[in-house]
């Protein structure tokens, strides 16, 4: 048995649940008399909804297939070897479940080395090798092709990427080394770093060709046929494949520097994967593949044994799996159809909601407000936004006409909501106002209609308490900007019934939102955590820590923005209001910053001025501040903030605000943009020891978002 086989056998034993991919070898006669050809098809035997992956046993199968074609090539029985995939899928890379089970560095090293050892054989056969990217290609799938002599790509491919850095890995089966040597460092940085850190952006077939990753592109309808005809021309020498020279001069360094600045702006140095990938790309300049592959092996092993990757995989599973089956949601069969939506209020939030409902549900949406002017303004906003979508080509003229016709306004609630199945209010955040709105709405809607509130901090139970049918009320808390942030906190009030809740979840799914079930507790999940943590930062400032110091305190976490920038985004007035609500509920933990009160009173929208190009404390704000003389270091502020977050999450879990810590993390990732490498936040708090320190125990079992024991 070869070393590779032994290596992979060990890995396969660790991962008995692998969905194994077969590497079929089939022979065919190429057109134009170009000879006998061996075509390897990667196929896991399932349909296109279960994409082909490359776990250790799958690699063993590919290794065996290469054994066969290598011998045939050596004997002169074939003129070339091709690799392609099952319909719609080429291969989507390593099976991540196989990475999660790894406990020892040597096993992690084996994953990288095993892949290299198999793939690199494709570049050293006695005949040329061809990859035909026929469908979705990611990670290790892309890398199989990079080891081949030539590549073609289907114009119909919707998804092609090296997403490793997005998850917390590097393209470690040749990607970091081969791609820059094929298309130059700058394009490699775009694919490996920029796209990955840009919400895992995928390339389409056309772009794969334009980037020079593929040598030829063909339509989906007869992609394999045309690829094989092209192969015949190449093998017969009728067609010479020309690739532009790679610039190994200064451009290489500039590309790597560009990659670093992208990584800095996205993860702020807090997650290692992008930087490890950039180091390998930088070193690949000398064209030494062997050295590059070894560096990839080491990087993979280090990252697989690192907490950031484990958090990244945990976060990936939350977003891709848990988000699709919300914990605690009732049987979806109970959901009632929603064929018309009412929106109370016609302000900015209400208008954004109307647009979202119209686009996703494609049912009539009626806005109401207290006077015609407001109603017209709200409907006008929606129509303008639809026109913008039309201009950008996001919708066609017919669809734009349809959407505009769906969104109307009315002053007469009875006429507007008489046949509505779902009415959401987005009026002023005041209990009395909201209760009155619901009472008016209940008087006119059909008996089955759901009443939803977009409140961010008021009690949904109290809001429903005066109604005849409080069981139909749910909280439906969106995050701003509504069109961008995926999270929707669905609040079950005390009397909410299962049918109403099921309908709310069904609507959320149609809206393409990530719905998380939360208890009717003050500020629910995201706002409660953010307010608590901002409160601690502001308290440090109030007590005397300079703003810049306090604001830098969380930088090592790599959050999407600093606390003060977050405060400015939320708006000091809103933040102050939510802090007030939480202070009323939990006065011992949530303070109301007097300095923040002064800023709000002075009508300031922010704390910083950006005149010099970077944020500096606004002198007018500085003049408003009254601070103490306790000056903390960044570390002290950070410890205080993290302790507060951990403590608050522990309390929320004990109160049953959500089912599990997983849901807290899912909320923070999808509602606040907190990063994958923190796994939301609880994996980070666990691994930094904050959870134990503050609450005496971890949030997650060892092995969840961490290396199993």
């Amino acid at each position: 048995m070869s070393n590779t086989a032994e290596l992979l056998k060990g890995a396969a034993e660790l991962f008995p649940d692998e969905v194994v991919t077969t590497a079929h070898v089939r022979h065919l006669d190429l057109p134009q008399g170009a000879g006998r050809f061996a075509l390897i098809t990667l196929d896991n035997g399932l349909d296109h909804t279960k994409p082909t992956t490359l776990g250790p046993q799958s690699l063993v199968n590919l290794d065996k297939a290469i054994d066969q074609v290598e011998a045939e090539a050596a004997r002169g029985e074939i003129t070339g070897v091709g690799v392609t995939g099952k319909p719609f899928i080429f291969a989507v890379g390593a099976d991540l479940k196989g990475v999660e089970v790894v406990k020892r560095r040597e096993d992690a090293l084996a994953i990288g080395k095993g892949g290299h050892d198999v793939f690199k054989r494709l570049s050293s056969l006695a005949v040329p090798t061809f990859a035909y990217y026929n469908g979705a290609s990611m990670g290790g799938g892309v890398e199989v092709g990079l080891h081949c002599s030539y590549r073609t790509v289907s114009r119909a491919i919707p998804a092609f990427s090296l997403p490793e850095v997005f998850l917390g890995l590097v393209p470690g089966w040749g990607g970091c080394t081969l791609l820059p040597n094929l298309v130059g460092a700058d394009r490699a940085v775009s694919v490996i770093i920029e796209n990955s850190l840009n919400q895992n952006k995928q390339l389409r077939g056309e772009q794969v060709f334009e980037l020079g990753i593929a040598d030829a592109i063909f339509d989906g309808a007869d992609f394999l046929e045309q690829s094989l005809i092209w192969t015949a021309s190449v093998l017969r020498g009728e067609l010479e494949v020309e690739r532009p020279d790679v610039d190994r001069g200064e451009a290489w360094d500039q590309a790597v520097a560009r990659g670093r600045s992208i990584a800095d702006s996205k993860v702020h140095g807090a997650a290692p994967a992008a930087y490890r990938a950039l180091d390998i790309i930088a070193a690949a300049r000398n064209g030494d593949l062997r050295q590059g592959f070894d560096a990839e092996d080491r990087a993979l092993a280090d990252l697989i044994m690192g907490d950031e990757l484990r958090s990244g995989l945990y976060a990936f599973n939350l977003v891709n799996k848990r988000a699709k089956r919300p914990a605690g949601a009732p049987d979806k069969k109970l959901a009632r159809p929603v064929t018309k939506v009412g929106v109370v209020g016609a302000g900015l939030m209400a208008s954004q909601l109307a647009l979202l409902f119209a686009r996703r549900l494609e049912v009539p949406v009626v806005l109401t407000d207290i006077d015609q002017e407001r109603v017209d303004k709200g409907v006008g906003y929606v129509h303008e936004e639809i026109d913008k979508l039309l201009l950008k080509g996001r919708v066609g003229q017919d669809k734009a006409n349809r959407l505009k016709a769906l969104v109307t306004g009315s002053l007469d609630k009875a006429a507007a909501f008489g046949d509505a199945d779902f009415v959401i209010e987005a009026v002023f955040e005041e209990m009395g106002v909201k209760q009155q709105v619901f009472a008016e709405v209940e008087a006119v809607v059909p008996e089955h209609a759901i009443l939803a509130t977009n409140t961010s901090s008021l009690s949904v139970t109290e809001m429903a308490s005066k109604l005849e049918h409080p069981e139909r009320v749910v909280g439906f808390h969106f995050f701003n900007p509504v069109a961008v942030l995926p999270l929707l906190e669905i609040v079950r009030a005390e009397r909410t019934d299962d049918a109403s809740l099921a309908t709310a979840f069904a609507v959320a799914k149609s809206l393409k939102k990530t719905a998380v079930l939360v208890k009717d507790a003050p500020a629910f999940v995201v706002n409660r955590i953010l307010t608590r943590f901002l409160g601690e930062v502001l308290r440090s400032i109030d007590e005397g820590t300079p703003v810049e110091v306090a604001d830098r305190a969380l930088a090592p976490l790599g959050l999407p923005m600093s606390p003060i920038v977050l405060l400015e985004l939320v708006g000091p007035a809103v933040a102050h209001h939510v802090a007030g609500t939480l202070n009323a509920a939990f006065p011992d933990r949530f303070a109301v910053s007097e300095n923040l009160g002064r800023i709000v009173k002075a009508g300031k929208r922010g704390l910083y001025v950006y005149d010099s190009g970077k944020p500096e404390l606004d002198p007018e704000v500085a003049a408003l501040f009254e601070t103490g003389d306790t000056v903390l270091t960044e570390e002290q502020v950070r410890e205080r903030a993290l302790n507060a977050i951990a403590g608050e999450i522990r309390l929320m879990l004990d109160e049953g605000v959500v089912a599990e810590a997983h849901d807290i993390d899912l909320c923070l990732i999808t509602g606040a943009g907190w990063p994958f490498h923190l796994g939301g936040i609880t994996p980070y708090l666990d691994r930094e020891g904050v959870s134990e320190r503050v609450a005496g125990k971890r949030f997650l079992e060892p092995g969840v978002a961490s290396i199993p024991n």
């Binding site: 077969t22 079929h24 070898v25 089939r26 022979h27 065919l28 006669d29 190429l30 057109p31 075509l39 390897i40 098809t41 196929d43 035997g45 392609t84 319909p87 339509d219 309808a221 007869d222 394999l224 046929e225 094989l228 005809i229």
Partner: protein, 404 residues
């Protein structure tokens, strides 16, 4: 409104390699519509001077128009092939003469002035759609003795034809079939067939049938080069005990598709498209369904009469070989020898296969090749028998004809 009929030309024709129907066949896991789509795309690739939006119609024939052969195949295949949405399409059925009827019907419309350029072709995936799938013959056929029950089974009609022409013996049919295989093998060796084949990617999941994964079909699967009389003599006669019709002297059950481009001659010249054949006349005729194989005789008589030609004017024949007996019946009628070199020079359906509604265009594509090679020939004809007692004949003029 005064009108002038326009000359119609055959611009180009292609086909898939033909496969054997059934689980072992190359196309067992391939959709019928995909076969047509790939033919249409090949026509466009081979004729880059044709702006796709100039195509006025896509007429695609299939006998069993359900499943992947249903849904108005001409239209759906056009969309799947990437033709502009402005190009319409429809489906045609005249059983075995489907593609031939697609050609004649659209040609009539071109001559009339309704179309400038059309795609006409056909498909039959007899593995996915066995003969007789979903049929529901009116009981009056039998109760009123409108047709004999054997009329529904093509093999039985071939036996009936042997009854009608006792001088066409099994021996003659077998000899003819051996020659068909020989000629087809030679045509392959000479590279006459491959140029008009569209390679088709084929997938196989069942390892009991052969290597699995993706492969490529580049040649006709049913071919049996080297077939001998002795081998044929030993075959069973499945349609009648001690009968004459065997798997060896008939076409098999096959999968495949064809497509052709037709145009008004002036439009072809304007666009710089090749002119491979010029349509002279066509005719269809009905005969007793029990002896459907005799159909080409009256249809050829009609087509010759309409063209003002006699059989002696025809220099090349492409006769569909559904059954050897049916070809021999036509040859006997005109006193043409069984091995006349003008007949089926490349062999025929006994060797290549006969995916029912697709075959008409195969005959034309092959005749077009022969015209090119033989400029001394002025006229040729394509003819075939059709289920339920019909025949179809199309007479073509060779544009390469050198004149007298």
């Amino acid at each position: 409104m005064p009108r002038t009929a326009r000359d119609v030309v055959f611009v180009d024709g292609v086909r898939t390699p033909f496969g054997k129907a059934g689980p072992k066949g190359i196309y067992h896991e391939t959709r019928a519509d995909d076969l047509v789509v790939k033919c249409i795309r090949e026509l466009l690739r081979r004729n880059p001077d044709l702006p796709p939006e100039r195509i006025d119609e896509v007429a695609i024939a299939a006998t069993t128009q359900i499943g992947d052969q249903g849904l108005t195949l001409g239209r759906t295949a056009g969309i799947l092939a990437g033709l502009p949405t402005t190009v319409p399409g429809y489906s045609i059925d005249r059983m075995c003469a489907g593609a031939m009827t697609a050609v004649t019907t659209t040609s009539g419309s071109i001559a009339f002035g309704a179309y400038d350029v059309v795609v006409a072709g056909g498909v039959e995936h007899m593995g996915r759609h066995p003969m007789g799938e979903g049929v529901d013959p009116n009981p009056r056929f039998v109760s009123e003795k409108l047709v004999d029950q054997s009329a529904l089974f093509m093999g039985m009609t071939a036996e009936n034809l042997h009854d009608r022409y006792p001088h066409i013996t099994k021996q003659r049919a077998d000899e003819y079939s051996v020659r068909s295989q020989e000629k087809a093998a030679k045509a392959y060796a000479d590279g006459r067939i491959q140029a008009d084949l569209v390679p088709i990617s084929v997938r196989r999941s069942d390892e009991s049938v052969g290597e699995t994964g993706w492969g490529l079909a580049t040649a006709d699967e049913p071919m049996r080069p080297g077939t001998t009389l002795e081998q044929l003599a030993g075959l069973k006669t499945p349609f009648r005990a001690h009968g004459r019709v065997t798997a060896g002297n008939a076409a098999g059950l096959n999968d495949g598709a064809t497509a052709s481009l037709l145009a008004a001659e002036d439009v072809a010249r304007e666009l710089g498209l090749p002119v491979k054949m010029r349509l002279v006349s066509y005719a269809f005729a009905g005969v007793e369904p029990e002896v459907m194989g005799v159909g080409p005789i009256p249809s050829t008589e009609k087509a010759l009469a309409k063209a003002g030609l006699s059989i002696g004017d025809i220099g090349l024949f492409e006769i569909n070989e559904a059954f050897a007996v049916q070809v021999l019946a036509l040859l006997d009628h005109y006193g043409i020898a069984d091995d006349d070199p003008r007949v089926n020079q490349y062999g025929g359906a006994i060797a290549f296969g006969h995916p029912l509604a697709s075959s008409g265009v195969r005959l034309m594509t092959q005749l077009a090749r022969q015209f090119e090679e033989q400029p001394h020939v002025r006229y040729g004809l394509t003819t075939m028998c059709v289920g339920f007692g019909m025949g179809g004949t199309v007479i073509w003029e060779n544009p390469h004809w050198e004149g007298k």
